[in-house]
């Protein structure tokens, strides 16, 4: 059997514990993101059926919800206003935005996690990934 971990300094008991802590942290972060977004999406969807009883029987209502050009908020002020008025679409969108933000948060938190581990190489690697993510987001807006 070959030595798999590589005989580098710092691969002690202490650092193994820290690696496990980081894995648990990332796992918990993903779980929290998923549960939070799921709650918003489910509550919003439930509200939309509560507010519009015709959604249960009308066969013409669907087109108005899913055809291209259907109005729904996609700017921050609209969404905030919508959530304040308990509008179902805005609540669902908050859930979807939480879902989209979860992987980005995961990368950001990993940077701190690697710094905590004292793993400089991986802290740099993860910082580069986050920068590229932000860059593609900014560039994507202009396309």
């Amino acid at each position: 059997m070959t030595e798999l971990e590589g005989a580098q300094p710092g691969s002690s008991q202490e650092s193994t514990t820290r690696v496990l802590q980081v894995e648990l942290l990332i796992s918990n972060l993903l779980r929290i993101g998923v549960v939070a977004s799921l709650s918003f999406v489910v509550v919003g969807t439930a509200l939309s059926f509560l507010h519009h009883p015709d959604y249960l029987s009308s066969s013409t209502a669907l087109a108005g919800l899913t055809e291209l050009g259907t109005p729904f908020p996609h700017t921050l002020p609209d969404i905030v206003a919508g959530v304040r008025d308990l509008r179902e679409q805005s609540i669902v969108i908050v859930g979807l935005l939480l879902l989209i933000a979860t992987p980005v948060m995961r990368v950001a938190v990993s940077i701190f996690a690697f710094v905590y581990q004292g793993n400089r190489v991986f802290a740099v690697i993860t910082t580069v990934v986050l920068s590229l993510l932000i860059l593609s987001f900014v560039l994507g807006q202009t396309i």
Partner: protein, 279 residues
């Protein structure tokens, strides 16, 4: 069809997409997009918007469990994410400069060839590669995972990190150009080139696809391509499916996963070939 029926049907299909996606390291777009456009006549823009949401849902839903179980190789994922994100940037820059039809044909051939290569090594579990791997040694990418089906810890060595990075860069370009999750390419690269066990490849790909999709999802959202009424049942169903699927991966036989993956690869290849030929 009433909105309620729509929500329930889409929910059900999305649960299936989530299970399959979490097992194979794919985003579920191959199920969600055709289902929404063909069965429910949803506009392709909203279908792609919902599929991006589905990729993130599969990724985060399954990764929570895979990371905790030590199935995901976090180090490999972080290193390769540099290549996928810069590839996605390049792809977005190149978009419109290439004929999409040729790209579809090329990737159909690549997928078909990969499925053949995978079929050849379908019985292998861990590759006891003795090839030297200076990059993987330096970055300490080698790892191990507990295989529930075999009831023992499997050690594996990671090789060809640079080739892996190159392939991931190409996978990133493809997702930037064609708007597909490219989980299939990621799993193939890790499995065939880098020597990761199929379960680790799948879990690690799962972990990675969410990050690439998140960048495009933000843009899609601002463009108004993510319709909450379409995306809500997709997100809910896929999250539930991915959670179920992530409990299955460890218990399933590696060769079973490989066979299902090969079948899905061939299906994607056929889909892409059709798009390329018919335009």
């Amino acid at each position: 069809m009433t909105p309620l029926q729509f929500t329930l049907f889409v929910l059900l299909i999305s649960v299936g997409a989530g299970v399959l996606g979490s097992l194979l390291g794919l985003g579920g777009g191959i199920i969600v997009i055709p289902a929404l456009t063909l069965l429910f006549k949803i506009d392709i823009h909203y279908a792609i918007g919902a599929s991006i949401v589905s990729v993130i849902a599969t990724s985060s839903g399954a990764a929570a469990a895979y990371v905790r179980e030590g199935m995901t190789n976090l180090r490999v994922a972080m290193v390769l994410e540099i290549a996928t994100t810069s590839g996605a940037l390049t792809g977005a820059y190149l978009a419109g400069r290439f004929s999409d039809r040729w790209l579809y044909v090329i990737f159909a051939v690549v997928m078909a060839y990969s499925s053949l290569m995978m079929f050849r090594k379908r019985r292998q579990i861990a590759v006891g590669l003795t090839k030297s791997a200076p990059w993987a040694d330096f970055l300490r990418l080698h790892g191990s995972y507990y295989d529930q089906a075999l009831g023992k810890e499997i050690n594996y060595r990671v090789v060809s990190t640079r080739i892996g990075l190159g392939l991931m860069y190409i996978a990133g370009i493809v997702s930037g150009l064609l708007g597909i999750g490219s989980g299939a390419l990621k799993v193939t690269a890790m499995d065939l080139a880098m020597g990761l066990p199929i379960k680790v490849s799948s879990a690690t790909s799962n972990f990675m696809i969410g990050v690439t999709a998140a960048a495009s999802a933000g843009v899609f959202f601002m463009r108004g391509d993510i319709d909450p009424f379409v995306a809500a049942p997709v997100a809910t169903g896929v999250l539930v499916g991915a959670t179920v699927g992530s409990r299955l991966l460890g218990r399933l036989d590696s060769s079973t996963i490989r066979i299902v993956f090969i079948a899905v690869l061939l299906f994607i290849a056929a889909q892409m070939m059709l798009k390329g030929v018919l335009g």
